[in-house]
Amino acid sequence: MSVAESAGRVLRSGAPPDTAYDVTVIGAGVVGTAIARELARHRGLRIALLDAANDVGEGTSKANTAILHTGFDAVPGSLEARLVREGRRLLAAYATESGIPVEPVGALLVAWDEEQRAALPGLLDKAARNGYHAARIIGPDEVRAREPHLGPGALGALDVPGESIICPWTTTLAYATQAVRGGVDLHLNCRVRQIDPGGGLHELTTSRGTLRTRHLVNAAGLHADAVDRLLGHDDFTVTPRRGQLIVFDKFARDLVDHILLPVPTALGKGVLVAPTVYGNVLLGPTAEELDDKTATGSTAEGIALLREKGRRILPELLDEEVTAVYAGLRAATGYDDYRVSAHKEQRYVTVGGIRSTGLTASLAIAAHVTDLLATTGLDLPAARDLPPLRMPNLGEALPRPYQRADLIAADPAYGTLVCHCERVTRGEIRDALAAVVPPGSPDGLRRRTRAGAGRCQGFHCGAQVRELFEKGGEPGSG
């Protein structure tokens, strides 16, 4: 099979190969995987994608608000504004083609006091300056009609119909899968400790041994500043900003039809309430400036704050059970824009300060970084279209395998439910374990299938899912 001949490898242990790579991307989050995928379009390049974790998307990419933004509120004229605008168009098309769940639910920025209401015209104007012209201001009656479960006191809203919800895990995994199929070697559990710029070749000392590469891309997210310093730069410092999020039970989904965004004011940003493509409701995030890049725990104070704010926005939400609480760290740099720069003499591109908009902008960032790599002397062979990809559907908007008679008739494993809360079948678990980029842990399997992500959190299926993971998807005794 031609795909297999040219496909890269997914390696979680062992020393990297002796021969040098043309390009190495450090960081396999949504940005790094998108860059690797874009580079894979240029047949003939030897490309490595590295991550310190044992799976793709293990950092900021797995714990965000899962929104496909329009970029209506970006800083006009900034790199971020341009890449979000372009990236949104690219990702929306890519999602349709690849089966990444997206629901175009639209957003309402709800004003709860006079100050917030007074801020709406400015936001509308900013949206226009960002080239987004579908937004409009609506009054309290229309807000109430469109969101009947909203708490009392909404004075109006900015209606942004283009905002969508998306599956961030499937997006990252789709990029990584296409990259590996296109020839990229994905090295996991591969932490970069030291970089020796040498003459013509960077020598990377990693937790798995030495790796050599001509060109280097730093997409290390929270650790982008540290990688930058390994190459002698001191352009920015990443301050982790913790965002705690509460996921509510699927019974909450009927309470909300749009993404309910806060109106940013001088007093700070509030929290959002948003449906998820899995049929849950998300409440959050908090915004806590920290100095520990591993502090992904939730706190009693954070949870209490979110519940208090959520009660104001959607009172009935608090009556529903909580399915999960998680925290992600966003890569804040103190600058109001991305920090993307090429260092020609080092054949090196830094992709820093990619904030919460990184998911939306990912494909445009990848194209931009590839252009920058060319300016550092990388010879880019002609680009080709990668073979199309169809990802397993984790979203509720389209039929899932357990609802499909055709699929079950062809393979009864799609009619055998393992995770009852999320209705995940043995067939889907088997497929995920045999995929091009297989999970490295039961958590990784959960992100790929939703198995164990439901209201019972493994009460019923936890032991069985663990067994399937350990035995590679073969039916066990239980």
């Binding site: 019974f251 357990y402 609802q403 008679a405 079950i408 439910l417 009460f459 936890g462 663990r466 239980g478």
Partner: protein, 407 residues
């Protein structure tokens, strides 16, 4: 697309309650009686309880489950496992998924016997990291008895009620040292004999008036933070934590069908004849009251089968019922609707506080219907019952009937 079928009685859930209902119905010639269960094996939660003490003869859970499977199948009930009910497509029509495909089953009577589960860490809003090593008793039992998995080396058990002691036994069988039992209550809630047998003999500390405030560790749990009611805090190193008890009904199907739920039990509201608000839809077992022992729900199943049988024969359904409510510190009562044609045989309650000699008062619109002092204390997470001999005094057109503790 969907294979459509019609049966007389469709029972959802093949635990002791569902199987006993099916056995009772099939034995009395109620027509086609079918039980579906989403698990690959019938028996419900009992199947995962390797310990003894089930039924009158102290069988193990799996033996007890097997007995009820044999009883139901032996009298002609059709038992189908690996069949998941995914939703309703009519008032008495359910959609299912199984390896054999999609079905749409319409029944003259539907019985929900979907059981209960423990609330997991997230629903309890316990902050901290999300490491491996966090269990409920249900997951622990399946991991140890069903799959022989390795659990860990040192555990903290959250809860000190009967199921917590089951978790403790299971941990011990899996070779896990138990660092402590932690309960928010001032004492444990198990019987004295059971507590002594499970805990004291092994000198396991019981930390009372304490809550788990944080989980720590990346990848794997490294410990838990605790806080005592008086403000003292502590850290216990462990690689495993088991959240026990805090049962909630598995009521997804009831709720998807729009059945009114009881605010106390959070299960479907039913009367003494296991009838929900929807004609032809019954509910039985721990989906009504999370949770009662297997022998209690099996007895309920037998009573429910008689009620379903009467409905299939006569078609009678109450046009109205009076809600039955509790006042704190009482947590819930079941059944929780009063239909005067079927008074039932008493009520099960829960308290959220220890009460030494509770006096229960039942009132309706300010009128006292019943008053009785109990000799035994009311203990959280343990059932206590009141008789139903006062239900004849309920005014069918009156307001909610309320059960409270007298001062």
């Amino acid at each position: 697309m969907r294979r459509e079928r019609i049966v007389d009685a469709l029972i959802v859930g093949a635990g002791p309650a569902g199987l006993a209902t099916a056995a009772g119905l099939a034995a009395t010639g109620a027509g086609e009686v079918e039980v579906v269960d989403r698990d690959q094996q019938a028996g419900g939660a009992a199947r995962h309880c390797a310990h003894g003490g089930f039924g009158r003869f102290g069988m193990t859970g799996p033996q007890y489950a097997e007995r009820w499977v044999a009883a139901a199948v032996g009298v002609g009930a059709v038992l189908r496992t690996g069949v998941t009910v995914t939703g309703w497509s009519g008032p008495l029509t359910l959609d299912t998924t199984s390896p054999r495909g999609l079905e749409r089953i319409t029944a003259r009577a539907v019985v929900l016997a979907t059981g209960a589960r423990e609330r997991p860490r997230a629903a309890r809003l316990v902050p901290g990291t999300r490491p491996a090593g966090v269990f409920t008793t249900g997951e622990l039992q399946r991991a140890v008895h069903g799959h022989g998995q390795r659990i860990g080396t040192r555990a903290v058990v959250v809860g000190a009620e009967p199921v917590s002691l089951t978790a403790l036994d299971t941990l011990r069988q899996a070779g896990v040292e138990v660092a402590a039992l932690v309960t928010e209550y001032p004492r444990h809630q198990a019987s004295r004999a059971r507590a002594a047998e499970a805990r004291l003999r092994h000198a396991i500390p019981l930390l009372t008036d304490a809550t788990v405030t944080e989980l720590l560790g990346r990848g794997r749990l490294s410990g838990v933070g605790l806080r005592h009611r008086d403000g003292r805090t502590a850290y216990v190193a462990c690689d495993t934590v088991v959240f026990t008890g805090d049962f909630v009904p598995d009521q997804e199907l009831a709720r998807r069908g729009g059945l009114p739920l009881d605010p106390g039990t959070r299960g479907p509201a039913v009367d003494g004849a296991f009838r929900t608000a929807e004609r032809g839809v019954f509910a039985v077992g721990n989906v009504l009251h999370a949770v009662e022992p297997a022998r209690v729900v099996a007895r309920e199943g037998a009573a429910a089968s008689a009620a379903v049988r009467r409905y299939l024969r006569d078609g009678d359904w109450p046009s109205a019922s009076v809600p039955l409510r509790v006042t704190a510190p009482l947590g819930w009562v079941a059944p929780n609707r009063l239909a005067l044609d079927e008074p039932g045989d008493g009520f099960t309650l829960r308290t959220t506080e220890f009460v030494t000699h509770p006096t229960l008062v039942v009132t309706q619109d300010g009128r006292t219907l019943h008053r009785a002092r109990r000799r035994r204390p009311a203990v959280p997470n343990r059932p206590f019952r009141i008789p139903g001999d006062w239900t004849g005094r309920v005014d069918a057109r009156g307001g909610a009937v309320r059960i409270a503790l007298a001062d």
